[in-house]
């Protein structure tokens, strides 16, 4: 459903005058003529940066299942996962303008924000003495249906691409990268857990991320 006022109706200017006196329909932004459901993720972020709450709703609708899944996996605690999701979406609302399309895709940008929020919470939990109760790294790919069938096809396609990319790197690199991404362990702790020298672990992480970045460039 478009976010557009009809321009031909005689009563419409009255409503404009109520909201933006003395605004006229000619002040409508052209970007608003694109139905929000059809807007690209980058365009939605651009609109969110301008305070467009409809665009924010659409971003939430599209991304919340995947981002909630991520923070759940990292935190393994529903309450903390909800808090991390809330914190992340507030960040998106306030900082959407900082998204740089030259540097990464919108989903990569969002994933890294939410991952970092969740890891911060995991490390804070560690400092509070509860410990990292779940640091075992699961198999790197678990298929799961998207909540919204409308978005399922595209997301499943991306997941398939990611699965292939992950399978293309050696298991020791995949293990090191996964451990670093999901657990919030330090370099030394990762080395201890893997029973490998620190230098070797760093090299595995570098090679793994470089290869993944190369394989997935422009695909996410």
């Amino acid at each position: 459903m478009g976010n557009v006022f009809a321009l031909s109706d005689g009563y419409t200017p009255l409503l404009y005058s109520l909201i933006h006196a003395p605004a006229t329909p000619s002040k409508l932004r052209m970007s608003e003529t694109v139905p929000i459901e059809d807007a690209s993720e980058a365009a939605l972020l651009h609109r969110v940066a301008k305070g467009d709450s409809l665009a924010f709703d659409e971003v939430y609708r599209r991304w919340s299942p995947m981002l909630y899944g991520l923070v759940c996996k990292i935190l393994d605690d529903p309450k903390e996962a909800e808090d991390a999701l809330q914190e992340g979406f507030l960040h998106i609302w306030n900082k959407a303008g900082s998204y740089d399309a030259q540097r990464s895709s919108p989903t990569t940008w969002a994933y890294m924000i939410f991952r970092n929020k969740a890891i911060d919470r995991l490390r804070a939990r560690e400092r509070r003495g509860r410990g990292m109760e779940r640091i075992a790294v699961e198999e790197p790919f678990q298929a799961a249906p998207m909540a919204d069938p409308e978005d399922g096809a595209e997301s499943n396609e991306r997941r398939q691409v990611v699965k292939q990319a992950l399978e293309s790197i050696p298991p020791d690199q995949r293990e090191a990268v996964s451990l670093a991404f999901f657990t919030g362990l330090t370099q030394t702790e990762i080395a201890e857990r893997l029973g490998a020298p620190l230098g070797t672990v760093k090299a595995r992480i570098r090679r793994g991320l470089m290869k993944l970045g190369e394989t997935l460039k422009g695909k996410l």
Binding site: Y11, Y68, L90, R103, R115, Q142, F181, L220
Partner: protein, 290 residues
């Protein structure tokens, strides 16, 4: 040309594995080196691949509203400086919010700021709910009187002086309620017709800011065509566009709740929309008021 050592450092940076001092140094280097920033973006794409392995999950429906409320609370909190003093019950929660804001101000929009503010507002909401429950009982009585008055007006086919008197009485009683409980933000609005062929139509809206719900009653409203629906809109300073409060049957009136949180309802309007309603007003506005 970026060497392996820098690539390694960038990889650790992307995964948050650099110690604080090294992280600061790396970020300074990245600021001055576009090639390095590009490498970081490249590595972030690789790291985000791991995120795609997490099975998607549907967040609890209430979480979305909590997030929206947090955003709205941020807007409200920014406005606290212009809210006039309205008595002790009113300024206490605002003082709490202001204290939190002052405390948080020194931390340069620290990420805990909004969380704490939200918690304070949730506590405030809980305390208010106790008082509002009592107010609701009184308001329901007023609603019954309003229904009876409007039913009489419908039977007479016009909005007569008696109805106007009754409306004024209800308005006064709501004002009394507001005075008795300053935290209950009940607003009563009369919407006048701007239809040339039906100037007698009128609607009354009772809007409770606290519960984000309202009641709509209409008089002398013609039935909508089969392919049309009347739709109620709230014009609020929070949003550029009017916020939908839903479609309704003019013969029945409606209890309504807007699709987005409202911090202040400036005006109400009713438009004639396509069947099922629109996300933004597209049809003619038929009644408006504040």
């Amino acid at each position: 040309m970026i060497g392996e050592h820098t690539e390694e450092e960038a990889s650790l940076y992307v995964l948050g594995l650099l110690p604080p001092e090294e992280k600061r140094r790396f970020e300074a280097a990245m600021e001055a080196n576009a090639e390095l920033a590009e490498l970081v973006g490249h590595l972030e794409t690789g790291a985000a691949a791991l995120a795609w392995t997490a099975p998607p999950r549907v967040p609890p429906p209430a979480l979305r509203e909590r997030i929206k409320a947090s955003i709205a609370a941020g807007v409200t909190q920014q406005r606290t400086v212009v809210v006039p003093f309205r008595g002790i019950k009113t300024w206490i929660p605002w003082a709490i919010a202001a204290c939190i804001a002052i405390w948080a101000g020194g931390i340069a929009f620290n990420r805990y700021h909004l969380q704490l503010l939200t918690n304070a507002l949730l506590i405030r909401e809980h305390n208010q709910q106790v008082e509002i429950d009592g107010i609701s009982t009184i308001r329901n009585g007023l609603q019954d009187r309003l229904n009876a008055t409007l039913a009489r007006a419908i039977s007479e086919g016009k909005l007569n002086a008696e109805l106007q008197t009754q409306l004024d009485t209800v308005r006064g009683q709501v004002a009394d309620l507001q005075a008795r409980n300053a935290l209950s933000e009940v607003k009563l609005a009369t919407l006048a017709s701007i239809m040339k062929d039906n100037p007698q139509a009128v609607a009354v809206v009772a809007w409770d800011l606290t519960s984000q719900r309202g009641i709509l009653k209409t008089v002398n409203m013609p039935a909508a065509q089969p392919d049309k629906d009347y739709q109620l809109w709230i014009i609020a300073p929070d949003y550029k566009e009017p916020v939908s409060a839903g479609v309704f049957d003019p013969t029945k009136g409606a209890n309504f709740a807007p699709v987005r949180p409202i911090s202040k309802a400036d005006k109400f309007a009713i438009s004639l929309e396509k069947k099922g309603g629109s996300s933004a007003p597209q049809g003619p506005i038929v009644l408006v008021g504040e």
